[in-house]
Amino acid sequence: MSDTEMFRLLADDDVRLEADAPDLSDEQFLGIYRVMVQTRVFDAAMIGLHRQGRIGIYGSSEGEEAIAVAAAAALDEPDWLFPDYRVPGALFERGVTMEETLAQLFGSAADLGKGRQLPTHYGSRRLQIASISSPVGNGTPHAVGFAWAAKIRKGPEVVLNFFGDGATSEEGFHTGMNIAGVHRLPVVFVCRNNQYAISVPLRLQTASETIAIKARAYGFDGVRVDGSDALAVYAAVRKAVERARAGEGPTLIEGVSYRHGAHSTSDDDTRYRDRSEADAWKKRDPIARFRRYLVARGIWDENRDADLVRELTEAVQRAIDVASAVPVPQIDTLFTDVYHDMPPHLQIQRDELLRHLESRKQAE
């Protein structure tokens, strides 16, 4: 694996392998595939929900399912995930349910985040997933600090941090990578290089030969991997996780892929790129490629695939029905959790508001 040549396992025909398959059981292969398909189905359904005006802004991860799911699959039980807003597959792989996800998207009272954040800003302490924020790149120093603490406390945790190609321009990336390198911390950085930061193409983002090569500036290894090759992603991340746990320090993994859709439901990507470009990339669709391999490997077939899609589509629909029935969070959650204990000035503001709303009810 190198920081300039692209590491691949699936050969051009998606049937043979360039090298040995990672030693996973058939169930594990199929498990990764299943979550990738679930992610695709879920993303599509959410775009639909947005069009119906039932949820706010949504950004699909279509085309990047292999990176999110296979990378997360390479983690072990004690490990932590510091995701960004475009890796629903990683969340599903780590055990987040579609109901939980939808509760966040609806911002309902059932949301672990109490309906306080924009869609796709998840977080689950129970599942060892940090809380996502919008400012690009800010999660990286958190991931690094967490890994630093783990090293100080000799804990077993390895940290997996996702971010995009655009994030590499931000200070969070720079300082996080630098500190991780100095202290050889147990963290694996996965850059989803989907070629664009909204409308800004990679060539206007950075002139570096690859994203992976940036690791040299921080004294550790970078790996450039085919991001639509689930097996390659798994193998690269797995190796990095094992090295991190063995005290051999961080790794930067660049998953080369493409954002099939617009940046978000607010974006119109036809303004800045040609359909043809997307069409070319879609020929390398991570799900289709992995499916071809599984079929060739003789552990999957088209019928079971159709069943799977149907099953997941129904499951998403059920989850939507459940989640959309949950009411809005209570008004007083506007004021709780700003601090551990509500200080006097916030109690006053809360009481003001509740009194005001009460008086309006009376008025009606």
Partner: protein, 319 residues
């Protein structure tokens, strides 16, 4: 308001070759809110620059461009994302003329969408004007309508000092009005009484101005005659207009979306007490966002609504 801003940028760039626009997605895309639409095609990639994803880099390189003699217009995609550039703004941009003994000046114009009302949650809704108001060396303006938006933006483009230009995104698509063609300016540092009144002074800016207009209308129905003042500039502040109004009404309600504690309303109240204490007939009330992060699902409860402002008005008028 988007059209007026876009128009102003076209006018300003045609009038002065030194004006360049830079930021994330401002070029080929024309900005995520389309405020810079058409500029890339008309002025080309030498004057409309898509930057990497780095606010420090946007403001930092804009400073360098200004030192060269250009007039950079830096777009911060959302005001919520200005904080990575805060050091460049507070420690460099705001202090550059002063520390260099006036050898250099940095007329960098920073445009950024502010405020709530679009379901943006924590990171697409904040109103950071108070941070800038506390930073000597900056000017801070915020329009409430298309006419002022164009006039203030053109004024800012000619201003010798750094200007933070806050664009209430709630008004981007909700306010439409024909604005005069070509060049005109609205002076920085001058407030406007958008409604005259004798009983109470309502101080507001940005997206709260139309709301306060409605408040005045329904208060009139209750016999409270409100003077609504649109500050337009936060720094420098037009205290003369404010004091004159307070001298007349003796009662003041201040409205803003930003959290209350140490928000700009605090400065308004403190300044009024210093200048107009003996004119005051009642406590000054602040109707503002709460001291919490900006919420998502409960946004409507967070915003200063017509009803909340009206309650503050009634209390103050009766006090």
């Amino acid at each position: 308001m988007i059209d007026a801003l876009n128009d102003a940028l076209h006018v300003g760039m045609r009038a002065n070759d030194n004006v360049v626009v830079l930021g994330e997605d401002v070029g080929r895309l024309g900005g995520v809110f389309r405020v810079t639409a058409g500029l890339f095609d008309e002025f080309g990639e030498d004057r409309v620059l898509d930057t990497p994803l780095t606010e420090t880099g946007i403001v930092g390189s804009a400073i360098g461009m200004a030192l060269y003699g250009l007039r950079p217009v830096a777009e911060i995609q959302f005001a919520d994302f200005v904080f990575p550039a805060f050091d460049q703004i507070v420690n460099e941009l705001a202090k550059y003329r002063y520390r260099s003994g006036n050898q250099f000046e940095c007329p960098v114009l920073m445009r950024m969408p502010v405020g709530g009302g679009i379901g943006g949650g924590h990171y697409h809704s904040q109103s950071p004007e108070a941070y800038f108001a506390h930073t000597a060396g900056l000017k801070v303006v915020i329009p409430s309508n298309p006419y002022d938006a164009k006039g203030l933006l053109l004024a800012a483009l000619e201003d010798p000092d750094p200007v933070v230009f806050l664009e209430p995104k709630k008004l981007y698509r909700t306010t439409h009005a024909e604005v005069p063609e070509g060049h005109y300016t609205v002076p920085i540092g001058s407030a406007a009484a958008v409604r005259e009144g004798s009983d109470l002074t309502l101080l507001c800016y940005g997206a709260m101005v139309p709301v306060c207009g409605k408040v005045a209308a329904s208060a009139a129905g209750e016999g409270i005659d409100i003077e609504v003042i649109d500050l337009r500039s936060i720094l420098p502040l037009d205290l003369d207009v404010v004091s004159a109004s307070v001298a007349k009404t003796g009662r003041v309600v201040i409205v803003h979306e930003a959290p209350r504690t140490c928000g700009f309303g605090a400065e308004l109240a403190a300044s009024i007490v210093e200048r107009s204490f003996w004119d005051l007939d009642a406590p000054i009330a602040r109707v503002t966002g709460f001291d919490t992060p900006f919420p998502y699902r409960l946004e409507d409860a967070y915003m200063p609504t017509l009803e909340r402002i009206l309650e503050g008005v009634r209390t103050t008028a009766r006090a």
